[in-house]
């Protein structure tokens, strides 16, 4: 397969087949916490996409240019967390300066992206899957963010409509949200094995 097909396959794979939220169960906290309204969920998804693209690419570079040559793979976790925290800070400043309305609506969630395990998870997965070229790492990072956005927006759409449904009293609130998340995961499992 030529490079383009490989990249396209990698992208589709990370967005729907190996979706970090729905099949790896990473980033469940914002997935359940910020999925009350579609517009908020979309904003959160975009912020995560931005951070994960930067940090996924950067961590691949740091891993391959610094850590592997120096035989320091053991410090991966700390270095990756450093990169993610730095990227989040950068995004926060940028949004605060140029999109004040978005900044106000994010509130506490923006700094919380730092501890979003989908991002650290992806950085480590890129390494685990043995991705050995920069374009693929970048595409995978971007795709992971898009996958997160898709998952959280679908969830928010369902939850918005769930507000109008006649849910049994004992299931209202968190229980029905978890059940919905489970069913959504089952639906996405149908894609498993589509690309080998």
């Amino acid at each position: 397969m030529d490079t383009f097909t490989t990249l396209l396959m990698a992208f589709i794979s990370i967005v729907i087949i190996n979706n970090l939220v729905l099949t790896k169960f990473l980033g469940i906290c914002p997935y359940l916490g910020v999925s009350g309204r579609v517009d908020m969920a979309f904003g959160m998804g975009l912020a995560v996409t931005f951070v994960v693209t930067i940090s996924g690419t950067l961590t691949w570079l740091i891993d391959h240019l610094i850590l592997i040559p120096l035989d320091l793979e053991i410090t991966r976790y700390i270095c990756f967390i450093l990169v993610i925290a730095g990227a989040v800070q950068l995004v926060e400043m940028y949004i605060r300066k140029f999109f004040p309305a978005l900044y106000d609506s994010f509130g506490i969630f923006l700094p919380l992206i730092t501890t979003n395990c989908a991002i650290l998870g992806l950085c480590l997965f890129i390494n685990l899957w043995g991705i050995d070229n920069l374009p693929e790492a970048a595409v995978l990072s971007f795709g992971a963010g898009i996958g997160f956005t898709v998952a959280i927006c679908v969830m928010a759409g369902i939850r918005e409509n769930l507000n109008l449904a006649d849910v049994p009293k004992c299931l209202r609130g968190a229980p029905i949200t978890l059940i919905t998340a489970g069913l959504l995961t089952l639906a996405f499992m149908g894609f498993a094995g589509m690309i080998k």
């Binding site: 120096l70 320091l72 053991i74 270095c79 950068l90 400043m93 940028y94 106000d104 109008l164």
Partner: protein
């Protein structure tokens, strides 16, 4: 032996330490540059005003939260005094920050529910089993005979941030001890039953009904509906009748013996006293 071990340990640790240090400093420099380049100037007054506000983010002032209101007040001092939960204290504190004079403000506003129909008093044509919200029930269903009365599905309860309103036997009931007067319930009642009224007295007299139907129709729909008989207008001082519905003149209301007589003589017992220390 031990020294050799320590030396070996040290020689394997220091590259990691140096790398981390280098990476950390690299990011620190990038962030430092970014923080200088992307600096946002914030007026310190905004923070001061925010501290003077109760930080409840109730939205009663018409802005998204206390932060938004603080900015708006700074830009436009005419908006002073919109914070109901903060009351006079907040207003004075903000006025001091902005170097303004405050005039004596009017009596604080509190909501009054203009309905007295508990489930046992109301007539139902059918049992409503649709979407459990007043907006939906009001738009779709004629299940409850009275078109003006409380639906009891709790739209007001869900918007109240202070847990000050509850549905008791199918009727929205306000806990005046907890209420801050933000007005969210009044905005969200689809039937406009909840009115923000200036509480000049500790206890306010009110007509707990909104039915504009004629007395004959009201009688068939509700056991405690105002029939517009006009006894209160004759007996009391601050009552008027409009569209078959008695109303209290809240602006000028004073407790008096005549008003008390009107309350006692009301054939439907629909005139009630509300406020703190009143039985719901």
């Amino acid at each position: 032996m031990i020294l050799a071990d320590i030396y070996q340990l040290w020689s394997s640790i220091w590259p990691a330490g140096v790398t981390m240090l280098a990476l950390g400093s690299g990011f620190a420099i990038i962030l430092l540059i970014a923080s200088e380049k992307l600096k946002v100037e914030i007026d310190p007054k905004i923070e001061q005003i925010q501290e003077a506000l109760p930080s409840l983010d109730c939205g009663g002032c018409g802005f998204a939260g206390c932060g938004q209101y603080a900015k708006a007040v700074l830009a436009n001092p005419d908006l002073l005094g919109k914070c109901a939960p903060g009351g006079q204290k907040s207003t004075e504190a903000i006025a001091k920050i902005l170097n303004l004079q405050v005039s004596d403000s009017a009596a604080p506003k509190r909501p009054i529910v203009h309905c007295k129909g508990h489930t046992k008093d109301k007539t139902f044509n059918a049992i409503y089993q649709g979407i459990q919200s007043c907006i939906a029930a009001n738009a779709l269903s004629p299940a409850q005979a009275c078109k003006f009365g409380c639906l009891g599905l709790g739209d007001c309860v869900s918007v109240c941030k202070f847990d000050a309103i509850s549905i008791i036997d199918g009727l929205a009931t306000i806990d005046y001890e907890k209420c801050t007067g933000c007005g969210a319930c009044a905005k969200h009642c689809p039937r406009g039953l909840i009115e923000m009224v200036p509480f000049s007295q500790e206890k306010m007299m009110t007509v707990a009904c909104s039915s504009k139907e004629s007395g004959k129709v009201t009688r068939t729909m509700c056991k405690v509906g105002c029939i517009g008989c006009g006894i209160c207008v004759k007996m009391g001082e601050h009552f008027t009748i409009e569209n078959n519905l008695a109303r209290v003149d809240y602006e000028n209301y004073q407790p008096s013996e005549k008003n008390q007589t009107a309350l006692n003589k009301c054939p439907k017992k629909v005139i009630i006293e509300t406020g703190k220390k009143c039985k719901a």
